[in-house]
């Protein structure tokens, strides 16, 4: 007897959109499993996004939006995002960031943990007005280190794009599938568990590269690099999850000031 595929389970939908200005919150919209918390801060404003459905799987649709009209602000996530096994197609996530003229925006989400058989298609797009600056972090963890998990099957598309004046200035369209995660694929991930990119886009950002490069945090030589030029300073890390997270936290703090409070928990 042929088994019919089960109907797809109830999909999670969520959206959280925050608009901030120099004086504070201008707008906040939440729907479904998308939430945004705006804690009181002494320094730069913060928006903490979370997905109350507890993770991502097939058919989920999630959107976070942060629009900073003026001033300084940081967006982050309440916890690591977890992309679970997704046998019926990818979860889709959109992150839309906007920084107004002269605004200084940081998007520092916590890591995304990909479980075996995860399928996640995420697009992060930042639009920068003249004089705006952006610090953008994305960190991926392939399986939970503490559980000794390996990812064998994976459908990940994680596209990060920064635009200014209608043109792309930074584009990293990462695509990882299970077959590419082999330890021997030394041009790809070399079997490393975590990979992260921190991009600082601002007039003069390239000046930060030398200082950042000099502070190599406990990663193998082959697992850390900083490059800068023409309004960009990019750091990449590749290695064990805790070390990558620590390296990126230190680098983000060096480039953009104190991290959002949710970052100050024990490294997981």
């Amino acid at each position: 007897m042929e088994m019919r595929p089960l109907a797809p389970l109830q999909r999670a939908r969520g959206e959280a959109a925050v608009v901030l200005g120099a004086g504070g919150v201008i707008g906040l919209r939440q729907s479904g499993c998308g939430k945004a918390i705006l804690p009181r801060t002494h320094g730069a404003a913060e928006a903490v996004f979370l997905n109350t459905s507890g993770g991502l799987t097939s058919g989920d649709r999630l959107r976070y939006a942060l629009d900073l009209r003026a001033g300084r602000a940081a967006g982050t996530t309440q916890a690591a995002e977890r992309a679970y096994a997704a046998p019926h197609g990818p979860a889709e996530v959109r992150v839309d960031l906007v920084a107004g003229p002269g605004a200084a925006l940081r998007w520092l989400p916590q890591e995304t943990i990909l479980y075996d058989r995860a399928a996640l298609h995420r697009s992060t797009v930042a639009e920068l007005a003249p004089g705006a600056s952006l610090l953008l972090l994305e960190m991926l963890v392939l399986g939970r280190e503490a559980m000794g998990e390996s990812v064998r099957a994976l459908d990940l598309l994680d596209r990060r794009e920064v635009r200014r004046a209608g043109r792309p200035v930074l584009l990293e369209p990462l695509r990882l599938t299970g077959d590419l995660l082999d330890r021997r694929a030394s041009a790809l991930t070399g079997g490393c568990r975590a990979l992260a990119t921190l991009a600082f886009v601002a007039p003069g950002a390239e000046d930060a590269a030398e200082g950042l490069r000099a502070h190599v945090p406990g990663l193998a030589v082959s697992g850390w690099a900083v490059a800068g030029g023409d309004g960009r300073c990019v750091a990449r890390a590749l290695g064990p999850a805790a070390e990558v997270r620590r390296a990126m936290a230190q680098a983000a703090e060096r480039l953009g000031g104190p991290l959002p409070l949710v970052w100050q928990r024990e490294a997981g």
Partner: protein, 210 residues
Amino acid sequence: MAKAEALLSLQQWLSPAFPTGAFAHSHGLEAAHAAGEVGREDIGRWLSDVIAHGAGRQDATILAAVLGGRDPGEMTALAAALAGSEGRWRETAGQGAAMAAALRAAGTAVPDGPVPVVLGLAARPLGLPPATVAASQVQAFASMVLSAAQRLLPLPQTEAQAHLAALRPLVLRTAEAAAATPPEALTTAAFAGEVAAMRHETLQPRMFRT
């Protein structure tokens, strides 16, 4: 243009003798090798992955797009945004400018730009299928990396040629896929390769420009 003449143009432009300065570039291989990530026994795999999942496929996609009529200015901005570091950009823009200068001297008027844009523009009158032109360029790229490998690993000349011949099916598949992919759908998986290229910028001592 008659096919035989078109192929002669392609052969001239992608010859190692065409003055693009390719000889000075290792595509980050020098840094990867210095860190112990790649050696004579796995250069084939490293290069295959860079072709299939990194710059090989990226350049082929942009080349095919320009050849197919996409605006060169837009494709140049895309190539610059994709270049993960200044070294990566210098590798394609520097060689592209040298290629454009040599093309102009040889009677083909094209402006400076990154290699896939310059070549895409130059090849428009050839009337060859985009996958054919892209395959030739990907092979030329592989040849450049193998030339660097000969000096770095070191890799014997005949072994390098054996690698190049063995890469042919992948080169063709990569070019076919690139010709069928809009540049907006371009993706990359060569993360460690990017890290190596970034580290190369400050590698001391170093033999290659990138």
